[in-house]
Symmetry: C2
Subunit: 191 residues, 2 copies
DNA sequence: TACTTTTGTGACTGATTAGTCAGTTTATTT
DNA sequence: AAATAAACTGACTAATCAGTCACAAAAGTA
């Protein structure tokens, strides 16, 4: 980045346009020119804010992940029990997936694209610790017993992710029922 | 395809070379020329077997999926109970993931790349019915009760996939233990 | 106002590559 | 052996696009 930290409106517009276009087409079929056009800036402007197209996609990825991580963990510690804390994370996962279909599509598509660098993934990972924290705490208080903490947290996160994905594509009517059955399934497994 | 259905050795060589190169670099950074070179055929030969680079990647994807689907369901009905049938699928999923890291990496990376067409995905889906069949049968015999069959099957498959992915990257020593804990978790959930 | 600095611009370029096609080699048939 | 068909080849081309850079506009300063 060449320009001061201040989040210029142009930078914001470029990121928004990128999210839209990277979802509609793949990275390689989205020219920087088309992004600039969608964002109503000159073709050179993009490169004032991002050194390369790759850096742009990495920034966008990190931003989406951070936003999601912050959303799911907000308010988690207001719940008194492990079960409620975990349910909080699950419910907010589903809710975020429903509210942000485009960001989800983008993250899903690009996380395994080879474009997101190891460094970006690590930076994103540092912010994704809600499940880990909750399970670790529950083990301390005796509310949960797991042998391989790492694997179980991974499995729970992955389960939440996949079920969130599934539910978010369903009718509003059936969501509550599906959500309860899905949580009940994994919760029973943990006991 | 211009040439008879017969699986020519050249076709095989092109698919093998593609798998290797598509894993090392992304689709767009893998030139058809480099694939032809790796496969020891002329650059034109690739287009005798596949109309385009896109068709090639779709064929490769379908082949990998089919091979996996066949592997996990082989022998499943030799087990007498739902639990053993499900464990069979889970164990074979993990085993296949361990044995075919490259194919897994390829499928993971390309399934959400936007390159695999809806038609290819549907064709692949038709072959992925092991979990569905087993759960449906168990509901008939009363061994299982689920409300949303579709979602539960989806969740189980996704769980197997993610845990398989996790375990296959671990040490040989800890695999058995992790595998048992992971299966136990989801199995308890189903009861 | 006049001068300096920051920010924004878009025509242009150098490099890359999917796919073609005219021709060669190999296999099959008569 | 000759003729025909099938399989294969690689030099070539037409198109694309990330990133540059010389300049313009806007904002800041004195």
């Amino acid at each position: 980045m060449k320009i001061s930290e201040k989040q210029s409106e142009k930078r914001r517009a470029i990121l928004d346009a990128s999210l839209k276009l990277f979802c509609e087409k793949c990275f390689q079929d989205t020219s920087t020119a088309s992004i600039s056009q969608e964002a109503n800036v000159g073709t050179g402007t993009l490169f004032c804010y991002f050194d390369s197209k790759e850096e742009l996609v990495n920034e966008l990825y990190l931003e989406c992940k951070s936003e999601f991580a912050e959303y799911i963990e907000t308010g988690v510690w207001e719940h008194p029990t492990f079960k409620l804390q975990l349910k909080h994370i699950f419910d907010r996962t589903v809710q975020w997936y429903i509210d942000n279909p485009r960001k989800i599509k983008f993250m899903l598509q690009y996380s395994s694209s080879g474009l997101i660098t190891k460094v970006t993934k690590e930076r994103a990972m540092l912010r994704m610790n809600a499940v880990n924290d909750v399970v670790k705490k529950a083990m301390e208080t005796g509310e949960a017993t797991v042998q391989s903490l790492e694997m179980v947290c991974y499995a729970i996160s992955a389960y939440f992710h996949q079920v969130g994905l599934y539910i978010s594509e369903k009718d509003t009517k059936s969501i509550k029922k599906l959500q309860d059955e899905a949580f009940s399934l994994i919760w029973k497994g943990l006991n």
